[in-house]
């Protein structure tokens, strides 16, 4: 039990590269389990590994978060320092297994926050953890539960001399927790030491690697880091460029809906595509077009019969929308559809996903995602918005993010101003139940610039006025 500000938060120093295959399925993320005695230096070793790895999107998961809630009687015992927190029975292994399983699958999880004052989980609060490529899990019983062990790719036991552990524990508890030495020793003799000898130390045989002397053992930590790096390297994937090179059939997938080519639609496209169009006009017509795309997408929702009375007391058998709609924009350019969305659904909840393309290799990178919890509700459909579906790489990533957040595939409708067959097929192959609504198809994807042609250039730049003059 110690304060650890790093625990249970994804450390993301830079964008996250694709963590899924081109078929949209997640690759399992890499899990390192670290166990060892109390004050053996598990957390320090974990932090050193994270620092050495120097890869973004790593989460340090602390087993302390999975203590069981104590009953009022047990809390009283705990307050007298008579409760055995060092027993393997103090942890909720079911929740731990569920959490690690979901994390390994790349899904979002809510990690409980344990309050050591009340010895209960803080109600209605949790740390949401999403987007880890590497999970480092640490706790004294980190290598104890069989099913949890099976989830791990690498199991580490930190084997620090028990005298040193005790000395550290005294120092820490006296300085940080206001204990006196006698109190620390009492707990140590009654609970810590017997538990270590009987339960913790034996888990050493479950480890792949044992690190003697803990954090001091730089050579061992260095070797471990190199091993993990090698493993991660093997899993790395290249997606976007391959997508551009793959040939796509002219015929569009069946889940794609293209707006009817009315005169107005053609007129608006003529304006937004014209290189000489002012930004003033570009924005106006983009907003108008977005509204039409949103209206079209609304027709894909389920409706139910609804009977109402008019002010003249006539009965009308009409329709009512059966579900809610939440928007999710793929930033930056997808944000341009929000005005259209709000024109049609005034109070739509809007989530944001920032995906940027690495200019050096064309790979999409996830930088940020903030999704309101209501998007996961049963009766909610998601309008995922992007300006242009070119290679489909950003869309694929965004849909993967939504699925990782437990949004069912058939409740996602992906909207865009413009799309090309490449991207549409890429997305449809991976996620055939996602409907795609777009206002126009341009069939040429320039393999060099990754722009659609004739296209309209960089939509976000033109809308937000950030293009080079």
């Amino acid at each position: 039990m110690k304060d650890n500000k790093l625990a249970n938060h994804v450390i993301a120093a830079e964008g996250r590269l694709p963590w899924y295959r081109s078929d949209g399925q997640n690759c399992d993320c890499y899990i390192v389990g670290i166990a060892g005695g109390s004050a053996s230096g598990k957390t320090s070793v974990a932090q050193r590994i994270i620092k050495n790895l120097n890869v973004p999107w790593v989460v340090l998961l602390s087993m302390d978060s999975f203590y069981k809630d104590l009953t009022p009687e047990e809390v009283e015992i705990a307050h007298r320092n008579d409760w055995d927190f060092d027993s393997p029975n103090s942890y909720d292994y079911d929740l731990l297994l569920e959490t690690i399983t979901k994390l390994k699958q790349g899904r979002t999880v809510d990690v409980p926050i344990y309050d050591f004052e009340t010895h209960k989980r803080v109600p209605n609060k949790h740390n949401t953890v999403y987007g880890a490529n590497v999970i480092i899990f640490e706790g004294i019983f980190g290598l104890y539960d069989k099913k949890v062990l099976e989830m791990m790719d690498l199991k580490v036991f930190v084997d620090t001399d028990t005298d040193i552990c005790l000395a550290r524990r005294i120092k820490r508890d006296v300085a940080e927790r206001g204990f006196d030495v006698a109190g620390v020793l009492k707990l140590y003799q009654r609970f810590v030491k017997p538990s270590y000898d009987n339960y913790v130390y034996p888990t050493k045989r479950n480890a792949d690697v044992v690190i003697p002397r803990g954090l001091e053992n730089l050579v061992a930590i260095d070797l471990l880091t190199k091993h993990i790096q090698r493993q991660l390297q093997e899993r790395k994937m290249q997606s976007r460029w391959d997508m551009a090179r793959m040939s796509a059939p002219e015929e569009l997938p069946s889940n794609v809906i293209v707006l009817e080519k009315t005169k107005q639609l053609m007129g608006m496209h003529t304006i937004i595509r014209d290189i000489n169009t002012s930004r003033h006009d570009f924005i106006f017509y983009a907003d108008r077009l977005a509204t039409l795309v949103i209206e079209r997408a609304l027709d894909e929702l389920p409706y139910e019969a609804r009977t109402v009375q008019t002010p003249t007391s006539q009965t009308v058998h009409g329709l009512g929308q059966k579900v809610n709609v939440g928007g999710v924009s793929i930033l930056r350019a997808g944000g341009t559809m929000e005005i259209g969305l709000r024109r049609v659904i005034r109070d739509a909840v809007i989530g944001k996903i920032l995906i940027q393309t690495d200019p050096s290799n064309g790979e999409p990178q996830l930088h940020y995602c903030k999704l309101p919890p209501s998007l996961r509700e049963d009766n909610t459909y998601i309008f995922l918005m992007d300006a242009v579906i070119g290679t489909g790489a950003a869309g694929l990533m965004a849909i993967r993010v939504l699925l990782d957040h437990d949004v069912p595939e058939d409740r996602i409708i992906f909207l865009s101003f413009l799309a090309g067959p490449h991207g549409l097929h890429t997305i449809a192959r991976a996620f055939p139940r996602v409907k795609i609504v777009t206002s126009y198809i341009d069939s040429v994807l320039n393999a060099h610039t990754l722009f659609l042609e004739p296209g309209l250039g960089n939509f976000g730049d033109r809308y937000f006025g950030t293009e080079n003059e």
Binding site: T262, K263, Q264, M266, G267, H269, T270, R273, D274, I275, N276, F284, R288, T291, L292, E295, L298, D299, L301, Y303, R306, V308, Q309, T310, P311, T312, S313, Q314, T315, V316, G318, L319, G320, Q321, R343, V344, R346, V444, N446, T449, F451, L452, E453, P454, G455, L456, G457, N458, R462
Partner: protein
């Protein structure tokens, strides 16, 4: 549906979400804020559809990728004409689609003596005769005031075939009356109701549109 509207009538595609919008504005329990919002949504679709019936020419533009796009350009200028008061409720929707469009106004009231619609006021852009006119009135019931308004436009030199009459809810009687008199113009409507009741209100209709939109109902 047994009723087949004449060819001058352009009925919006009867999509589910359009039906859901009209259900909301017909409901007497709908709050004014919602009434306005969903009316505006329907009006915007009406205007978008109405504009599709204006003439165009082909136009090729160059995109920022350096390629050509074969597009179109609209021919002729337009103006809106709202029949006061209810027709003014459609101006917001019109402006969302046609930013700085000119808007003329017509006030027509029932003459107390003759019980016929009478023109009280008309103010149009000076060059209205050369423009396409989007005539705005949310309800087409008997067609009395619409006919008066169209006559006025014709007096100002607007060509009949350049008039598009936009309304949210119409009925066969009103359509028949207007089409009989002005067969060259077009009517764009969101829904066609069963008919008129004995008080000449559209049945089922939605009550007094202007009162509900502007909040002057009790």
């Amino acid at each position: 549906m047994a009723y087949q509207p004449p060819k001058q009538v352009i009925l919006l595609p009867q999509t589910q979400q359009l039906k859901a919008c009209t259900t909301i504005i017909r409901d007497k329990n709908t709050q004014r804020a919602d009434f306005i919002f969903y009316s505006d949504r329907i009006i915007r679709i009406l205007v978008e559809e109405g504009l599709n019936h204006l003439p165009v020419v082909e136009k090729t533009v160059v995109t920022p990728t350096g390629r050509e796009f074969q597009g179109i350009d609209f021919q002729g200028r337009i103006c809106g004409v709202s029949i006061m008061r209810a027709g003014e409720s459609m101006e917001q929707g019109l402006r969302e689609v046609c930013r700085s469009v000119r808007i003329g106004k017509i006030l027509i009231q029932r003459d107390e003596e003759t019980a016929l619609p009478k023109l009280y006021y008309a103010k149009f852009p000076p060059d209205i005769a050369s423009r396409y006119c989007l005539l705005l009135d949310p309800m087409l019931a008997t067609g009395g005031s619409a006919i008066k308004a169209i006559e006025t436009l014709l007096d100002y030199g607007v060509a009949e075939e350049r008039i598009l009459f936009l309304n949210l809810i119409s009925c066969p009687e009103g359509i028949a009356a207007v089409v009989a008199k002005f067969p060259l113009m077009k009517i764009v409507t969101a829904e066609i109701d069963a008919g008129l009741d004995e008080k000449l209100y559209i049945n089922p209709g939605l009550g007094d549109f202007g009162c509900r939109y502007f909040g002057t109902d009790k």
